[in-house]
């Protein structure tokens, strides 16, 4: 093993904490919080969510990673900028140094996209806070226990040097994977500048396997899922707005995403990347300490394209 590879492996392992192999299982805390609209109340709501999860981020570099896909401000394709701004303020309130970063999958003008999506209007000094992950400096990171054919991936240094990655996806259906949530949102970390637009290597390596491998590098990133208005039908771009009125958050992305699936009335056990990354144990309700609104009180049926009907929960929440 070359020294450089060794160092990069060490970086990867450091990011992973230890490895994907689960430690003796403690129940993962997942909060489901009502947030009926993108209004000023959202700032207090996000502050309460962070307090609930007792995040210790004083003096730490926190990187918010929203889901920016398309230029359209009036749609539900992108994570809403007001939610991202609320997270900026809330993490700053806890003493963190906050930055925002994203590497869209197929549109090249990331800042233009963010501008059109309303980020410049809502987040003061947005351009100073933001890094285009598609064009960032990169380091090759070896995957500790790959399930895809990848043995290593180039990843942006802005991500690798952050202390806490916060995945902030939109709650959407996805025509290939069933649902795109905090783990699928990690595709935006993979640099287009190296792999292209789209990052088609991830598809050829297996979308589910690639998601699981990215998760293995960031297994304890924090997640705040924008489920205020999600997207159903032919997501993640051409679907329909789906008001849900919730924010789902937690430190265990598998547990967060499994909970979102239950809210969407998708069976998490049938979303392959979830079981690849967390096993059936990781998505089991018995292993999730769910607080806030009960899933059954907010669950709403996300329409699925015909090809994905097999993902539907066999049982609707009581």
């Amino acid at each position: 093993m070359r020294r450089r590879d060794f160092l990069l492996t060490a970086t990867g392992l450091g990011l992973a904490g230890c490895s994907r192999a689960p430690a003796p299982r403690s129940r993962s805390l997942v909060s489901v919080t009502r947030a009926p609209a993108y209004s000023q109340n959202i700032y207090d709501t996000v502050r309460r969510i962070l307090a609930e999860h007792k995040l210790q981020v004083r003096g730490r570099r926190v990187l918010l990673k929203p889901n920016l896909v398309e230029f359209e401000p009036g749609t539900t394709i992108n994570t809403h900028p007001m939610l991202v701004h609320a997270a900026v303020e809330a993490f700053r309130g806890l003493g963190a140094k906050v930055a925002i970063a994203e590497g869209p999958g197929h549109r090249r003008g990331t800042l233009d996209l963010a501008d059109a999506a309303g980020y410049f209007d809502i987040i003061p000094d947005f351009e100073d806070l933001f890094t285009d992950l598609n064009l960032d400096e990169v380091t090759r990171v070896r995957l500790p226990h790959p399930v895809s054919p990848f043995r290593s991936l180039y990843l942006p240094n802005t991500v690798l040097s952050s202390d806490l990655l916060v995945s902030m996806p939109k709650m959407k259906t996805h025509h290939w994977t069933g649902a795109t949530l905090s783990m699928k949102n990690l595709f935006g970390l993979v640099p287009g500048g190296v792999y292209g637009w789209p990052k088609n290597v991830l598809h050829w390596a297996g979308i589910h396997q690639s998601i699981a491998d990215l998760h293995s590098l960031f297994p304890r990133h924090f997640s705040i899922v924008d489920g205020i208005v999600g997207m159903d039908g032919n997501g993640p771009i051409q679907g329909n707005p789906k008001p849900v009125g919730v924010l789902v958050a937690g430190r265990d992305p598998v547990a967060v995403d499994a909970t979102c699936c239950r809210i969407m009335e998708i069976d998490p056990a049938r979303v392959w990347y979830l079981t690849l990354a967390g096993g059936l144990d990781g998505i089991a309700e018995s292993n999730i300490q769910q607080v806030g609104e009960p899933v059954e009180s907010v669950a709403t049926r996300f329409e699925l394209i015909p090809e994905l009907q097999g993902l539907r929960s066999t049982q609707r929440p009581a």
């Binding site: 233009d112 064009l135 051409q238």
Partner: protein
């Protein structure tokens, strides 16, 4: 031509001779666009230029170029480098780059792939008309790298015509025609996914039109109309530049087309704006 674009390009060159996208280390793509912009503005770049030296040194042993020197893989950016005049990196290096580019195809283009998919997954993959280029070896062909591959080979063909080159250009152009969306423009990849029509994008529509210069304009009427509409509504300087270049290639840029209104936020945006302005004044560096 607005001199501020060239001034910005000059001001952002790294000490090693290359250019960054915003700031930081040098990348192949912005370096090539900077040199193309200079060329478009009538500034010749000798092999002794430090940017040319940076590009020459960055060539990999397989003949291709990586997106940046720390990346261990030749990719689509090789097409960009071969768009430059051979003397910039040297005729031999340039020829090896073209060989690498000609050897690259989208993985989904081969009949073997479709046969394998049928055997392994039971799925019948529809055959793709034409053969395009991928962003990254071992992956599917896409509209942007295919358009740039065509432009690179056209330059090569203009210098040294050959049947093989012409056939490769034509088959790649067939790929673009096959991928055209229902509205006449181009998405970044396919025209539909899981049975749903996909939307077109300004950047890829401009690039594809540029790469289809010289083809039957009668087949492109819808594409011109859409590109003109995109140009009126443009929301990025890069998109506007590609649309202008694509429409100019077919003499379809409307008189009084709106001027650039969006900021140039990356070096390629700045360079493409300079290149489009030069094309409007009669010199299209991608075609001439």
């Amino acid at each position: 031509m607005d001199p501020s674009g060239l001034e910005k390009i000059e001001a952002t060159q790294n000490a090693d001779g290359g250019w960054p996208y915003h700031k930081g280390g040098s990348w192949t793509e912005p370096t090539v666009y900077a040199l193309l912009a200079k060329r478009a503005a009538g500034i010749s770049v000798p092999a002794s230029d430090k940017a040319a030296a940076w590009l020459s040194a960055a060539q990999r042993s397989d003949g291709g170029w990586a997106p940046r020197t720390s990346v261990d893989q030749s990719t689509w950016v090789t097409a960009l480098v071969t768009l430059l005049a051979p003397e910039v990196v040297g005729a031999d290096r340039h020829a090896r780059g073209l060989d690498w580019l000609r050897g690259l195809t989208g993985r989904d283009s081969s009949p073997f792939f479709r046969w394998r998919e049928l055997v392994v997954t039971g799925k019948l993959i529809p055959s793709v008309e034409g053969i395009g280029w991928p962003w990254f070896p071992g992956t599917s062909a896409w509209v942007s790298p295919t358009s740039l591959g065509i432009l690179a080979l056209r330059k090569c063909y203009a210098r040294q015509p050959s049947t093989r080159l012409r056939e490769r250009i034509e088959t790649a152009q067939r790929f673009l025609f096959d991928r055209r969306c229902a509205d006449g423009g181009w998405n970044y990849g396919s025209k539909h996914a899981v049975g749903y029509d996909l939307d077109s994008y300004p950047e890829t529509t401009g690039q594809a039109l540029l790469a289809l210069a010289g083809t039957d304009p009668g087949k492109l009427k819808d594409s011109f109309n859409l590109a003109q509409r995109f140009l009126r509504e443009h929301r990025s300087s890069g998109g506007a530049a590609w649309l202008r270049l694509g429409l100019l290639a077919h003499q379809q840029l409307p008189a009084g087309a709106p001027i650039f209104t969006m900021p140039c936020r990356t070096l390629p945006d700045t360079a493409l704006t300079v290149i489009a302005q030069a094309a409007e004044q009669g010199y299209n560096v991608f075609l001439d």
